[in-house]
């Protein structure tokens, strides 16, 4: 079960988790601590979110990023975390594609700031490449959430140990023991 190859993939998962956690916590933190007005402007600059929802997105996004980052950092419900980062990355990439298609000149606001910038000051290529990279990591974890050093892994092991003792190794003993413990 824990063949060398499995362990190697678990390490890949760990790296993916840590990279995503660093980016989401870091960028989320910058967004959360800047003024709400800046966040609002960054969202508005995309001309994509309906005006009525700008405040909601501006208010929630930084904290959603931070929360998701922490799930991935801990490896707690990795698949849920990865699903959230995947959705966000798809959204961010769509936003960037939209901006490029519409010919707006904006700062993506990815790491705080944001808003309109001079036409020569955009960095869409770098931003899109970075986001595609993050999307790949997210998608990887979505399909294979198992990774080394994770809370998920700990609970899985705990489960396996518990049941292993009471069912597999010791089938002759009444399973009621397990039952009474657990109810």
């Amino acid at each position: 079960m824990s063949s060398r190859r499995t362990r190697a993939w678990d390490l890949v998962g760990l790296v993916a988790r840590l990279v995503l956690a660093a980016v989401f916590i870091g960028f989320g933190w910058v967004k959360a601590t800047e003024s709400p007005a800046e966040m609002r402007v960054a969202v508005q600059a995309y001309h994509l979110v309906p005006p009525a929802l700008v405040d909601v997105v501006a208010a929630i996004l930084p904290y959603l990023e931070i929360a998701t980052g922490f799930l991935l950092l801990l490896g707690l419900a990795t698949r849920i975390g990865a699903a959230l980062t995947t959705v966000m990355m798809v959204g961010f990439l769509f936003g960037l594609g939209w901006v490029v298609a519409k010919g707006y000149s904006i700062d993506c606001g990815c790491s705080g700031g944001g808003g309109a910038v001079a036409a020569g000051d955009t960095h869409y290529t770098e931003e899109i490449l970075r986001d595609v990279g993050l999307l790949i990591l997210s998608a990887y974890l979505l399909f294979r959430p198992r990774s080394a050093l994770s809370v998920d892994g700990l609970t899985r092991r705990a489960d396996a140990d518990q049941e292993g003792d009471e069912y597999d190794d010791d089938l002759g003993h009444p399973a009621a023991v397990h039952n009474s413990e657990d109810v």
Partner: protein, 290 residues
């Protein structure tokens, strides 16, 4: 559900017809093995369910905290206050000082007429600033820049808006409250053009707006004719240099809005930034103004 299934496993299934245990010895048969497998699966499922629930709860909690912080940070200060006593003077080209008397606290405000965050600053703190000015507690020097010109539809809006502000300060600055009312109105959502928008205000429209807020016919004519535009452009360049120098002191690039005290930027992200700067004893004294 998962729990129920599991509870049934040993009792019902192993005692059931398919169970291998005919006697008293609890040796599991084939049926037991299957149910054991399903028991393990459901136990794993339950753990997954708990982890998922914990994760979702964490996310919801963090979002709620975020929403609370966001609305707290957005709380409008001194809502509804309008300056009725301030006079404006052009203390240097493109530097417009508003005050009532000569208070000790002097702040510089760097803004671009097109900048949406400047509009947010005005919306959130404008009332509080106007009151402090009228109360004779605060002198504000507006140093407008025009670096967002290129984001305006006409390509010159920021400079022309500054020219209009300079004109009103020069011609009608002595009329109490007029300059501040015009300045506030420029950031009103109905008036401020959008960055990258398809329209902005012409000089005639700027003049019209100033006129509605009490500017004289002379000022209106000068705004319409763009008398101050080239002076405004030069002033904006000088103001941008001074903004860049101030921002560098806290390791930032030039950005608007920036409020400085003694040439050092003040952190306006803190909702209480102005309250903290105002004199403590006087700020709690009720005033008869407004």
């Amino acid at each position: 559900m998962a729990k129920d299934d599991r509870n049934k496993v040993p009792g019902i299934v192993s005692g059931g017809p398919k169970g291998g245990s005919k006697g008293k010895v609890g040796k599991p048969g084939k049926g037991d093995r299957m149910s054991v497998a399903s028991a393990r699966k459901s136990s794993g499922d339950r753990t997954q369910l708990i982890i998922g629930a914990v994760a979702i709860l964490i996310i919801i909690a963090v979002i709620v905290v975020g929403l609370v912080m966001y609305s707290k940070n957005n709380a409008v200060q001194g809502a509804g206050n309008v300056s009725t006593k301030s006079v404006a003077t052009m203390s240097a080209p493109g530097e417009i000082t508003v005050s009532n008397g000569s208070p000790a606290l002097k702040l510089d405000v760097y803004e671009d007429a097109l900048c949406p965050i400047c509009a947010d600053l005005e919306h959130q703190f404008g009332g509080q600033m106007a009151k402090a000015v009228d109360d004779g507690q605060l002198t504000l020097t507006y140093k407008m820049v025009d670096f967002l010109n290129s984001s305006s539809h006409s390509g010159t809006y920021s400079a022309r808006a500054l020219a209009a502000l300079m004109t009103v300060a020069k011609v009608d600055g002595a009329k109490p409250g007029v300059w501040m009312a015009f300045h506030t109105a420029l950031y009103n959502a109905d008036n401020q053009p959008k960055e990258g928008g398809t329209t902005d205000l012409s000089n005639a429209q700027l003049a019209d707006l100033a006129g509605k807020l009490g500017a004289s016919a002379d000022a209106k004519k000068q705004i319409t004719d763009g008398v101050e535009v080239s002076a405004a452009t030069a002033s904006a360049t000088a103001n941008l240099a001074s903004l860049t120098a101030a921002a560098a002191k806290v390791g930032r690039g030039a950005g608007t809005p920036t409020v400085t005290k003694d040439g050092v930027p003040v952190d306006t992200n803190d909702t209480a930034w102005l309250t903290n700067l105002l004199p403590k004893s006087e700020s709690s004294t009720p005033t008869s103004s407004n």
